[in-house]
Amino acid sequence: MSLLRLENVDKSYGNEPVLHDVSFDMERQSVEVIVGPSGSGKSTLLRCVNRLTEINGGEIYLDGDEIHSVDENELRRRVGMVFQGFNLFTHLTARDNITLGLREVLGASKDEADAKADDYLDRVGLADQADSYPAELSGGQKQRVGIARALAMDPELILFDEPTSALDPELIGEVLAVMEDLAEEGMTMLCVTHEMGFARSAASTVTFLDDGRLVERGPPEQLFENPEHDRTRAFLGELNGLNNE
């Protein structure tokens, strides 16, 4: 059974359609990269999966459970999220950013939570920054704490919403490295990103979304080298142009 299954998902904000009839399946331990022009509904799609936004039609299944049949807080415990703007809790240290969810949602004791947080900070290479506040970290470090925060909840799936778009170019590498490690370890990841290098090396499938519709979907080599649709080709051409500048 696939871990995540979207069936004919529709979403509109008022009269403005954002997603139209989107369907796809994601296998466990796969990495799905969603690309598409801005305004194509990529971020909305992610937010529908953990119900930060509610869909208007269709169904979404997580490991066989329709997501509206699961308590929303329980769903979000099972689906981690990493944000474009990091959204680290400003008033908490790197360690406490991670322990808040462990203690309040998973009911871990302080010692357990602290140990686990330090463990995950170590995994993203930030063991020495456990007591730093977000304002004292660089963008790349913040995002790595953000990934550790999502990871520590032992999610079945992690959503990445343009995790490197707000970073200075020289900081992107450290975040992608962590994401590549995760992919290798078998974490199931649904990523909105325009990092083509990451998509080529780590993605199992790439999906091209345009104007709220799923235009084309396939393994990275096929989609990048030999796209079926003109729109896909045009978009990838523009993206490559930007990347090679």
Binding site: N50, L52, N73, E74, R76, R77, G80, M81, F83, G85, N87, L88, F89, T90, H91, L100, G101, E104, V105, Y133, P134, A135, E136, R149, A150, M153
Partner: protein
């Protein structure tokens, strides 16, 4: 500006150098004297001292008017008198001017016990009302932002009703309008325990309600200045809305609220003088009574203004210290230093 000038970031806390020492000594003497007066006439401490068999040093049974000044009045009064006598001779006006400071000091010395007692009541009214008001203000602010359509409107109506009517009218409503004072007086235990009179309790009720509305507005705007992404991230981790508010929005928002909250504290400290009009013998009422006894209205109001100034500057200083202590990199005063 020189380095001894008051800095941009706030209040008396940032005075430097020798001026800091002078301000510190004046403030220290002021507060040492006030606290000594309060202890000396505190009935609870007095009965405690007697109970454990200590000599009867404290004097709580004296009425405020019977209390002896700790600064001698006589020399200053005599000096003023002789200068006034000289004023009837040539160059009289100059002697009259010279007599004035001595008159002022003599009056201050004479009024000192009563003003200390009034200052105590002023601080007491303000601190208790602010504290109790906070327990109304925080839920009111949260309901206003995160509540449903009905509860947020109830909260809005409450703040607008309270902010939209004069404090004096509210005081009169509770004291003369509602039979609240008589109700409180009907508990005869109040008198025997030396608890404040009914009027003071009515004043606390009115001030609590009034300040809660203003505090709620300061807190609301502070909570709204917390980035929306913070709540989203908390929800995405799996925290419920109320957990997210409690663990993420409030700790940040309440820190942002401190400067506004200080403003309300200072405001209430001064406007607690309105309690004088419902017979509460707080600082302003004491001054007014002394004025009507001596007819030295200008002098006593000048003295009492200095009292209020001392109380306000102290509040500003303490709140500034609190803000610095609670600041976190990225939130509060330390962030301005880092950036």
């Amino acid at each position: 500006m020189s380095e001894t000038a008051i800095g941009r970031d706030g209040a008396v806390g940032s005075i430097r150098g020798r001026k800091r020492l002078v301000v510190g000594v004046v403030g220290g003497v002021f507060w040492l004297w006030l606290v000594a007066r309060w202890i000396y006439h505190n009935s609870l401490l007095d009965s405690l001292f007697t109970a454990v068999g200590l000599p009867d040093l404290l004097q709580s049974d004296q009425g405020v008017r019977q209390r002896e000044p700790w600064v001698p009045v006589e020399p200053f009064a005599a000096a003023a008198e002789s200068l006034q006598t000289a004023a009837s001779g040539p160059g009289g006006v100059i002697f009259e001017w010279l007599a004035w400071p001595f008159e002022l000091i003599a009056l201050a010395a004479e009024a000192e016990p009563a003003l200390a007692s009034g200052a105590f009541l002023t601080v007491y009214l303000t601190v208790i009302s602010m504290f109790l008001g906070l327990f109304i203000a925080v839920p009111a602010a949260i309901t206003r932002i995160y509540g449903g359509p009905i509860s947020s409107r109830v909260s809005l109506a409450y703040t607008e009703l309270i902010r939209g009517t004069p404090l004096l009218a509210q005081l009169f409503f509770f004291y003369f309008g509602l039979p609240l004072a008589g109700f409180i007086d009907s508990f005869s235990v109040m008198e025997s325990t030396g608890a404040p009179r009914a009027a003071a309790i009515v004043a606390i009720v009115a001030f609590t309600i009034n300040s809660s509305a203003y505090q709620a507005e300061y807190i609301r705007s502070a909570l709204q200045s917390v980035e929306a992404g913070q709540l989203t991230a908390a929800r995405a981790v799996g925290l419920s809305k109320s957990e997210a508010i409690r663990h993420v929005v409030l700790p940040q928002g309440l820190r942002y609220a401190i400067p506004g909250w200080t403003n309300e504290f200072i405001y209430l400290l001064k406007y607690s003088s309105l309690a004088a009009f419902i017979t509460v013998p707080e600082l302003f009422r004491r001054a007014r009574d002394i004025g009507s006894d001596t007819f030295q209205y200008t002098d006593i109001y000048l003295i009492v203004a200095l009292f209020y100034l001392g109380l306000v500057l102290t509040t500003a200083l303490l709140m500034n210290k609190l803000e610095v202590r609670l600041s976190i990199p990225g939130i509060g005063q330390s962030s301005t230093r880092n950036s």
